[in-house]
């Protein structure tokens, strides 16, 4: 089997605070191939953003990667020096942040954002050349080229998010991580931004990681999905499998709680309770206090990821029969 583009193995991230240690990401593994889309779904506090940020070494203080490896194109990302890591952020993995309102510098013109970024990585490029590239990139994402001389406040939220995406693809990275790229946007703009990401993926062969709390967005657009809860992967499967055969009670609960306009007279079911405090995790399975199917073993022992089919992993004792563990 050829080496995947990105290979994350046993990644664990901790935040050490005065109140205790918060295992924000706990032993997460996944792979990503070229032109593939991975959706990471989870509620706030599930560790999905920390996971995304750890890929580019940007976990906020006091977070720390305590275990695991991240291999990109055969290189170990965690062993990179500061300067190499900086290079990686432009040409290897690029991040599109959630809030387009605050991620652009308000006193800098749109074009200058591109100039700064391109020249930081390729100092030989002149300002003029960088601006020319900025125009082409803006065209790619569907913004009129005159906009290079506008300030961020002159752009709408959707346009700002497009600029963020244009910045992300400026140096031809191999992976784009989009962290809730559309949460701050309206439905129509949301659909357009997601279409744009998809078409960029197809044209440039980018790999895409979509991080979101909204399962309906990623089900439609990802090749495979990872459902996270309290720092752990609860279920990982190709999207169509996860949709037709959701196995973890949490995944099933999520699917039942999102409205689907294609279904007539849908009855939504809520998942009882609320996500746990990461500093006071329940004993055993992290989901059991909210789980309808929990039995005694769940409250005592922590389940491993069980393999139920070729690419289908579930962290639930309901599937602990003959399945092999990871």
């Amino acid at each position: 089997m050829p080496e995947p583009l990105l290979n994350v193995k046993g990644l664990s991230v901790e935040y050490r605070t005065s109140r205790g240690t918060n295992h924000a990401v706990d032993n997460v593994s996944f792979t990503l191939d070229k032109a593939e889309t991975l959706g990471i779904v989870g509620e706030s506090g599930s560790g999905k953003s920390t996971l995304g940020l750890s890929l580019i070494g940007l976990i906020p203080f006091p977070g720390k990667i305590v275990d695991g490896t991240i291999t990109l194109d055969g290189k170990d990302v965690l062993k990179l020096k500061k300067e190499e890591l900086r290079k990686l952020r432009g040409t290897g993995i690029c991040y599109v942040f959630q809030d387009p309102m605050t991620s652009l510098n308000p006193v800098k013109k749109i074009g200058d954002h591109f100039v700064e970024m391109i020249r930081a990585h390729q100092p030989k490029v002149t300002k003029k050349e960088a601006l020319e590239r900025a125009r082409n990139l803006l065209k790619d994402v569907g913004i009129r080229t005159e906009r290079v001389s506008d300030y961020p406040h002159q752009l709408s939220g959707g346009m700002r998010q497009r600029v963020m995406i244009a910045l992300a693809i400026a140096l031809n990275p191999s992976i784009i991580v989009a962290d809730e790229p559309t949460t701050a946007l309206d439905v129509i703009v949301q659909a357009k931004i997601l279409d744009l990401l998809n078409s960029l993926r197809d044209t440039y062969g980018l790999a895409l990681i979509l991080i979101t709390h909204d399962l309906s967005i990623v089900l439609e657009r990802s090749d495979k999905l990872m459902v996270m809860y309290a720092g752990q992967v609860m279920e990982c499967a190709p999207s169509h499998v996860l949709y037709s055969d959701p196995q973890h009670p949490y995944t099933r609960g999520l699917l039942k709680s999102i409205p689907n306009i294609e279904l007539a007279d849908q009855k939504l079911e809520a998942i009882a309770g609320s996500p746990p405090d990461l500093l006071g995790l329940p004993c055993g399975c992290r989901f059991w206090p909210r789980c309808k199917e929990a039995f005694e073993r769940c409250t005592k022992e922590e389940p491993k990821l069980f393999r139920t089919a070729e690419n289908h992993w579930v962290r639930c004792f309901l599937y602990d029969q003959e399945g092999e563990t990871q």
Partner: protein, 333 residues
């Protein structure tokens, strides 16, 4: 005006314009002042016991309409009738008495609570303002209502500060706060848009339960048509300050008429990996509310726009009984 007993709220030709501040020189030179037309000639009625949804993108005037209805600020023109009574010009004590009957749930559960007030005090505050109860009686009321919205044990939540409870619990507390005066009518402005998906359903179900138990009527404001479909009886789709389509939920979802409604529906994410999605047909982005396009305000983004669309502003026309749309491309003739 004939008042229909089943109708709790009626809005006629509601307008809200905000003047655009200009520099002194511009004021001297400009012939006419510019306005942001946040709400521009909106009429609808809400029937007792129903959930009426105002849907649209940000900037379409849905929240402004909701706040105007509650008399949170004055209208530019138009009339608002509540329970058959004209409340447009109501002031002072009369307005305060009215506020008991109509309450609001705000979008942001983080911003709508005073961070220094305990949940119990915040929820019971309006009882004191309206001089309905105080002391032990008030405490009992607060406990009852907290229990009703699912914040149990109430004794625990009464003494907590807003930052000590989760977003979903805060939105439940917000509901308790608006319900404690036993209102008849509630404006719910995107009550679940800032809450995690797994908790949304519980909040929505609570809203539906409360409607049944307290005989409430909701004006529900949302940009999320998937939720609108789940909760509403009737839906009005707004675009740039105007209602472009209004009708029963089934009519809007099964046979939408206006191209904007169709585009909104096409943009809703469907949790189904098998589904093939067509790219949005809409051109560009929402124009500024200061500079509203002539004729049909949607024609600049409409794929089906004809010559006449930029000249004549279409009126709301009844397409089928109870289903209205304002589109020049559609006429009965």
């Amino acid at each position: 005006m004939t008042s229909n007993p089943s109708e709790i709220l009626r809005v006629e030709h509601l307008r809200k314009y905000y003047p655009v501040e200009k520099s002194f020189l511009e004021k001297m030179l400009a012939r006419n002042r510019h306005f942001v037309k946040a709400v521009d000639d909106v009429s609808f009625d809400v029937r007792r016991g129903e959930i009426f949804t105002l849907a649209g993108e940000s900037g379409c005037g849905k929240t402004t309409t909701g706040k105007l209805v509650l008399k949170l600020f004055p209208v530019t023109s138009g009339k608002i009738f509540f329970d058959g009574q004209d409340i447009t010009g109501l002031k002072g004590e009369e307005l305060r008495a009215l506020r008991r009957k109509m309450q609001m749930i705000f979008q942001d559960p983080y911003a709508s609570f005073n961070p220094r007030m305990r949940v119990g005090d915040a929820v019971g505050h309006s009882l004191e303002i309206h001089k309905l109860a105080k002391g032990e009686e008030k405490k009992q009321h607060v406990k009852d209502i907290l229990e009703r919205v699912g914040l149990v044990p109430a004794e625990k939540f009464v003494d907590l500060f807003p930052h000590q409870i989760s977003g979903g619990q805060r939105q439940r507390a917000a509901m308790a706060r608006s319900l404690i005066l036993q209102p008849e009518f509630i404006v719910a402005d995107e009550p679940v848009s800032m809450i995690d998906v797994s908790l949304r359903t519980a909040i929505i179900d609570l809203m539906l339960d409360l409607r049944r138990d307290f005989g409430l009527t909701y004006l529900f404001i949302t940009h999320d048509l998937a939720i609108a479909k789940y909760i509403s009886d009737r839906i009005a789709v707004m675009y740039l300050g105007k209602i472009v389509e209004l009708g029963r939920k089934d009519a809007i979802f099964n046979s939408p008429v206006h191209p904007y409604t169709k585009a909104l529906l096409a943009a809703i994410p469907v949790p189904n990996p098998e589904r093939k999605r067509n790219p949005s047909e809409l051109i560009g982005e929402v124009p500024s509310a200061i500079d509203i396009p002539s004729g049909c305000r949607f024609h600049t983004r409409c794929k089906y726009a004809k010559e006449g669309c930029s000249v004549k502003e279409p009126e709301l026309v009844e397409v089928t009984p109870g289903h209205f749309a304002a589109c020049g491309g559609f006429s009965k003739a």
